[in-house]
Symmetry: C2
Subunit: 431 residues, 2 copies
């Protein structure tokens, strides 16, 4: 049986999961694919850590170039994360004629243009199934399973940490900081969870999904990004009363030749499948023109889940290498109907709003007057509890509102004497 | 650019969708895959019907052998459905060295053993993405995306007609026959919907899912099959009060070296994703040991949805043909931990039951006595409305009950004087 040799750079959590699977499922995989996938070298900076798989000392190295320059290695797996030196390792590997498997969404999202072009030039592929949704085969589904489709929308819950925090707040009526504390204790949040909580990680993943669905490699600057740290328990509960859950969504939406790309907390109707995606789970809702509306759901993180995605890439890579097939990440079907990216100011939709106001006659009239001035229709208004003396929250829903007008209206409203705190506005999405 | 020639047998609803996509997306697909997929011949018995795509007369034939024997045709697409002559066409095509794409679940489920063996012998592949869940890439996901995984369970809503009927009953409080009538009017049910309603279609699809997940080709006789026609509106409403939805599930469950394969109406907790799958939508919930619990959701039928699946197969077939790759449907990873199939009598679980009894003291004691005799624990009992004079329904939930004992107990109970109708029992699944 032909042997395909693999070299790993990064022997951390996911890396050791990959080695574990390749070892324990060696014959299971060989029987399925008619090829043997062999771990030839493993590189890491630190072999002192405890791992759930052991590797013979002679395969270990602290020097990535020993992996990249090994002429017998067919596939380099990069699992160190971050931009540098991951980018240099992948670049070198491609130049040495290796195919590359990576789970590095930050790198591909921020430097994909250069890497995909190099991959294309060299005729060596970059596989990245585990970069979005861990073991959920969303990358393969967009590239292959839905190959004939054009897309109108992608709506993803793609950050497990944020989703865990929001789910905890909603299920257990706890504050953001308590929920985040718990997520850390349970290992669902990094020590420094900034990238997850502030929406950057979701934006990275959105870039990859948009690339696969629309053939356009947008940049981080193109994406409007708002994280979950400003979502309050009060908003979660008021949204619930209105029949909505608040989720951090990564959204790409095509409309009239324009593409919106944004990441922000979003109200989703209770009866939508995405509203039921709880805890660390991820789900990607895809609107396609042939296959219709699809949902892909599963754990968005975890050692073996991510390793499952990496190994499926390794199997594809091994079969393609054997057959001399090159799978380019440049030719993924540019949607030529997209003429421009729509700026956040220009999007139009429904909004949930919470205003903290003085409870006295005439206040609503004043506020409504401002909204009217900015051409914003109000669909519902409801005054909430009166506990704090004469200061009360008002929850309003606006519809058909342009984001820019809404922001201007709220700025004006926040300057009124009767408004006591900065107003909150959260988008409602009609998925 | 290399051209791969395709011949279609069956130019009905899905067939014309396939031709439409291949024509309208010709350059879109060619750009993606570097190959041209060309419709070389189209065979049907009847070209008089109105179709949403037109094909030059010279490509049309009423004789399938003109497709099968055309030496320039690389891939034969079978879309006529049914066992004969579809089986003969596919057999001949494989023997003539063609690769085959089909959406024919009945054929593969009932005659797959022979066809897969022939395909393997000849080194020509059979692709069947559209046979389960139309455009949902579930076949590819099980075979490729989750290639490294072993599975513990598959829970599928895989028949759109049944799901539409149950959803209508639940949402609109209407009877089975009214819901079915509406399904026919809307085109969601065939004129003769027997195969869908009685669970046979779901069983066919379950056979394919089990084959991909466990490597075992079970037969229809191995599967316990119960359709939806016995589900009453009363049961749907009582189940709702208990926090459940009733869905027709195709279930494969591995436990202690035994595999259960069954299709039947099932109570699923309201908060489970499968409970939210409404209308003609399909969803397959997959429990895997590495990637975790996954859900694949989408429309389970429709011309373009099914054609989307067929075209994704065509793209795979075309790429594999070009590369000389053979993708066997025999080597799909036998799960050797499965020692036997568990018979329906031996399964153990929770049950919803509805008994119609005379409303008088001592009745519950009698019934409970029978359950106790058969070693069945009752978790809850609740007497329902008393409209019909002194005859009332009682809803009970049993737990930890062996199916065999439960059936014996109900047989005994149905013989009691105080029991006025045949009792109903529906399985509750802890997905």
């Amino acid at each position: 049986m032909k042997k395909i040799n693999v070299g790993l750079i990064g022997f951390g959590n996911v890396g050791s999961g990959v080695v574990k699977i390749l070892r324990e499922r060696r014959s299971f995989l060989a029987e399925k694919i008619g090829l043997e996938i062999n771990v030839k070298k493993v590189c890491d900076k630190d072999f002192g850590r405890r791992r759930n798989v052991s590797v013979e000392g002679k395969l270990l190295t602290r020097d990535a170039s020993e992996v990249i320059n090994d002429p017998q290695i067919d596939i380099v797996v990069e699992l160190i994360g971050g931009i540098h030196p991951a980018k240099e390792f992948i670049t070198e590997a491609l130049k040495k004629g290796k195919n590359v498997v990576t789970a590095n969404k930050a790198l591909l999202a921020e430097q994909g243009k250069e890497l995909f072009a190099l991959s294309h030039d060299r005729g060596k592929s970059i596989y990245f199934e585990a970069s979005v949704g861990a073991g959920i085969p969303i990358i393969k589904s967009l590239r292959e399973g839905l190959v004939a489709n054009k897309f109108t929308g992608i709506y993803g819950i793609v950050n497990g940490t944020s989703n865990y925090v929001l789910s905890q707040m909603s299920d257990n009526n706890c504050t953001f900081s308590d929920a985040l504390k718990e997520a850390k204790v349970k290992g669902f949040a990094e020590k420094d969870p900034t990238l997850d909580i502030d929406g950057m990680d979701s934006a990275h993943k959105l870039i990859l999904l948009v690339y696969l669905a629309f053939g356009k490699l947008v940049s981080m600057e193109d994406i409007f990004i708002e994280g979950v740290s400003q979502v309050s328990l009060a908003d979660i509960n008021y949204a619930k009363e209105l029949g909505f859950q608040i989720k951090l969504l990564a959204i790409a939406k095509k409309e009239a030749g324009e593409l919106e790309v944004r990441v922000h907390p979003t109200l989703i109707p209770d009866n939508h499948l995405l509203a039921s995606v709880g805890g660390i789970f991820n789900a990607i809702y895809v609107s396609s023109d042939l296959a219709g509306d699809l949902l892909f759901y599963g754990p968005g993180a975890g050692q073996l889940a991510a390793a499952s995605g990496v190994v499926s890439d390794l199997v594809d890579a091994a079969r393609n290498i054997q057959a001399g097939l090159f799978s380019s990440t440049l030719n993924i079907g540019l949607d030529r109907s997209i003429k421009k990216l729509r700026k956040i100011d220009e999007i139009e939709g429904r909004y949930y709003m919470r205003l903290i106001v003085v409870d006295r006659p005439g206040v609503l009239a004043k506020i409504s007057g401002v909204f009217a001035r900015f051409n914003i229709s109000i669909a519902s208004v409801s005054q909430k509890e009166r506990r704090r003396s004469s200061i009360v929250p008002i929850v309003m829903v606006a519809h058909g509102a342009k984001e820019k007008n809404l922001r201007l209206a709220l700025d004006a409203i926040d300057k009124l004497d009767c408004v006591k705190e900065k107003s909150v506005a959260i988008r409602i999405e009609e998925v």
